[in-house]
């Protein structure tokens, strides 16, 4: 356990030393909120999307980059010569990325809450649950990217290639209502869609459909299984 916390603490410190990561996870969602939220109304549509955006940013642009860089540079290999088991190393990464996402979301909701009472989801337990499930789904997807990419450079590129269409087509950056029907239909097939849908349902208190939950569960199960099977330490 001591190793796990030390690893987590060290990785958290490292995260705070990456200005670019800080910008995209903490500041960028606030800028979007300012741009779109200041036109008045629609916060209940915007916020769940931005929460999904934070999860996608961390899961697809941060996590694959960190893991692939650690693998490429022999950081994981060096750790493999110590008694710390691989699951502890990956567990620490999971916790750190979850902490980074949560910091981004907390900041976003705090700022939004200062202007609008819809910053608070109707069903908080559902929102927390969906948030955690969405985090797992997107981190697992990022883990697959890191596992498939032969090096850090490719991991970065593939991460961004998966990330950009999704955040626009799935209703994360722009609410779905503002998309054309053909864009929406493409967006519905992408893995970020059930995350956005579930978060919106938690916000509105509409209740999350079994289909959305099944899609999330399937995404987590398949991506985690593929990632664990394919990820190499060197």
């Amino acid at each position: 356990m001591r190793a796990f916390w030390k690893l987590t603490k060290a990785e958290l410190k490292l995260f705070t030393r990456e200005p670019l990561a800080i910008f995209f996870v903490l500041a960028f969602p606030l800028i979007l909120l300012w741009l779109n939220g200041s036109q008045g109304g629609g916060m209940d549509r915007l916020l769940p999307g931005y929460v999904a955006l934070v999860l996608a940013t961390v899961g697809l642009t941060q996590l694959p980059s960190v893991l692939a860089t650690y693998r490429e540079r022999g950081i994981l290999r060096r750790l493999a010569t110590t008694p710390v088991p691989p699951v502890t190393v990956l567990g620490a990464q999971l916790v750190v990325h979850l902490a980074a996402s949560t910091a981004g979301v907390a900041l976003l909701l705090t700022v939004a809450g200062a202007f609008d009472d819809v910053a608070v989801p109707r069903s908080i337990p559902a929102a927390v649950l969906v948030y955690l499930a969405g985090a797992l789904a997107l981190y697992a997807l990022g883990f697959v990217v890191a596992a498939l990419a032969p090096n850090a450079r490719t991991a970065n590129v593939v991460g961004f290639v998966v990330y950009f269409p999704m955040i626009f087509l799935c209703g994360a950056v722009i609410p779905r209502e503002a998309l054309s029907s053909s864009m929406r239909r493409i967006g519905e097939l992408l893995p970020l869609a059930p995350v956005v849908t579930a978060l919106r349902d938690a916000w509105s208190g509409a209740g999350i459909t079994a289909l959305t939950l099944a899609a999330l569960a399937a995404l987590i199960a398949v991506a985690a299984a593929v990632g664990i099977r394919l990820f190499r330490w060197e």
């Binding site: 190793a3 030390k6 022999g74 950081i75 060096r78 750790l79 493999a80 010569t81 110590t82 008694p83």
Partner: protein, 303 residues
């Protein structure tokens, strides 16, 4: 003496390339065993199998009595590893790295002490990315010792160090051994192996071609002494050829090289003095491990 590492008939191939082709060797408690050989000889693969990082195709490995593949977690508590190629996150500070690695072991050493021992105290707050090659190397050696290992594997320990740092590192490795640890040292510096190692395994093309003390390996060459000097004036080589114990006399540029047996220096110096031949730069050259290595592998090192 107890055997700490035992490797029998180890084989490992990568595709078509045979990296290790039947290596057997043992490392005894408290010794510094050197593994030397040309690049691609299978040295690193062999130690990485001992460390449990690679799985052999066949052969038996026991380190501290443990099978690295089956009891890896237990073994890694008791060994220290300095890899040929490894890194730390760029923005991790030196003290943080030592603090972190110390936390990974059951009974770690005091990392502040290691920071001092390895001359890193002034760099404690420096980020890994800002360290020089030598500083990184010292940090990696310190990290390999932070778990109080019983066996330390050092792969290309002094590569990238300047000569002064290299000598300082040798002293510290001797101290590591003096504190009771066994050291397995992979190197391609013959001087390092000769000065530091109790025994040396010469590995070539995936096989151990010789394993003995550096002295015995050199004596095994059957090569005697060599003298080299620069005569200051005309000089008759034949006058030396007639001396007892002299096998060969040759010119090498403006120098004369005399080969022969052990008492060569006294014989030749006396003869030169008797004839009042003025010479400069008189040096005695014994055969060294490099000569033994070249003789045993039949070629120079491929770099």
């Amino acid at each position: 003496m107890a055997t700490v590492v035992e490797v029998t008939e180890l084989r490992k191939r990568y595709g078509e390339t045979v990296a290790v082709d039947g290596i057997s060797l043992t490392v005894e408690a408290g010794e510094i065993l050197g593994i030397v050989g040309p690049n691609g000889a299978g040295k690193t693969t062999t130690v990485e199998i001992m460390e449990g990082l690679r799985r052999p195709d066949s052969g038996r490995v026991r380190v501290l009595g443990l099978d690295p593949r089956r009891r890896g977690a237990e073994l890694r508590q008791r060994i220290g590893v300095q890899l040929q190629q490894a890194a730390l996150p760029d923005r991790l500070k030196v003290w943080e790295a030592l603090d972190l690695y110390a936390s990974l072991y059951r009974d770690p050493a005091d990392w502040r002490r290691l920071l001092e021992d390895w001359g890193l105290e002034a760099k404690g707050n420096a980020a890994f990315a800002d360290l020089s090659g030598g500083q990184r190397q010292r940090l990696f050696i310190a990290l390999s010792l932070v778990g109080r290992p019983e066996v330390v594997f050092l792969d290309e320990l002094t590569t990238g160090l300047d000569p002064q740092a290299r000598r300082a590192t040798w002293e510290l490795v001797k101290q590591v051994r003096a504190k009771g640890a066994t050291v397995v040292l992979v190197t391609h510096f013959m001087e390092e192996a000769e000065l530091l190692c109790d025994r040396v395994a010469i590995v070539d093309r995936g096989r151990v071609v010789a394993l003995d003390t550096p002295g015995a390996l050199v004596r095994g060459l059957g090569a005697g002494q060599r003298l080299r000097f620069r005569p200051l004036g005309p000089f008759d080589l034949d006058s030396l050829r007639r001396l007892p114990g002299v096998d060969q006399v040759e010119r090498d540029g403006d120098q004369v090289v005399v080969a022969g047996d052990g008492s060569l220096l006294a014989t030749v110096a006396a003869a030169l003095a008797a004839k009042a031949v003025p010479v400069a730069d008189l040096r005695s050259e014994g055969a060294n491990l490099e000569d033994a290595f070249l003789a045993l592998t039949g070629r120079g090192q491929r770099d």
